[in-house]
């Protein structure tokens, strides 16, 4: 049964994506206005994560939520156009790999894994974390991409069921 589940035809075809639109003007306007705000909030959370509350994980999830808002308030096609799967999968790899690379860079130079090579920087500024900002951004990219991939799998099930209903 597991094999059948994996092998069944769920491939996404670009020409078969549904044309859907939100009929409610208020939802549409508010949702579209929220998209840039949400994306900016996500970037801010990731960038200032080690100074103020927040961090790579929270920023990443908020970034992914901004993308999903595109569908919730706009169109599925717009959402898919904004998140091409090749790019998202690449970003997921880069995020996870980046974390390991930062850790291994310390190991290669003779320090323990994830040891800070960049110095402490100035207290309370964006450059105060040494290698922490790099790790933070790696985590943000990884989490955002992973969430988009996850949402994508769920949405595809839903969208496919829309298609087969017609």
């Amino acid at each position: 049964m597991g094999v059948a589940l994996l092998l069944r035809d769920t491939r996404d075809r670009k020409s078969e994506r549904p044309y859907d639109r939100v009929d409610n003007d208020a939802v549409q306007l508010l949702g579209i206005l929220m998209v840039p705000v949400t994306v900016l909030l996500g970037l801010w959370l990731a960038a200032y994560g080690y100074i103020t509350p927040g961090g790579g994980f929270q920023g990443g999830v908020v970034l992914a939520a901004g993308l999903v808002l595109l569908w919730a308030a706009g169109r599925y096609r717009a959402y898919r156009a904004a998140s091409p799967m090749e790019l998202v999968e690449l970003a997921e790899g880069v995020g996870a790999g980046g974390y390991v690379v930062v850790g291994l860079a310390a190991l290669v130079s003779g320090a323990p894994f994830l040891h800070n090579l960049l110095g402490p920087g100035d207290f309370g500024t964006l450059l105060s974390g040494g290698s922490i900002p790099l790790l933070n951004w790696a985590a943000a990219i990884e989490v955002a991409a992973a969430n988009v991939l996850l949402f994508h799998e769920f949405f595809e099930e839903y969208v496919l069921s829309l298609r087969s209903r017609r």
Partner: protein, 80 residues
């Protein structure tokens, strides 16, 4: 312990019970996000803003989305 903490702890218990008592999965998903919101307030009041932010993004964005789509999918299958 300040009064606000007590109020939120009690509220947490009440909303948690409500989540369990709501038998309809769709209703449960919505009440569950209210539960998440109360948890966020609780974390803020107990001075854990980092945890509050995590709970906020996961409880109000990731979980309801995945739950809603899953419920819709199951309902559609069951209806046919």
């Amino acid at each position: 312990m300040i009064p606000l903490q007590v109020v939120l702890l009690v509220l947490m218990g009440i909303v948690g019970t409500t989540v369990v008592l709501a038998r309809d999965p769709l209703r449960q998903a919505i009440v569950n996000s209210v539960y998440g919101l109360v948890a966020v307030l609780l974390f803020v009041v107990f001075q854990a803003p980092d945890v509050a932010l995590s709970e906020l993004v996961v409880g109000t964005v990731a979980m309801p989305l995945v739950l809603l789509v899953a419920i819709l999918k199951v309902r559609r299958k069951g209806g046919r």
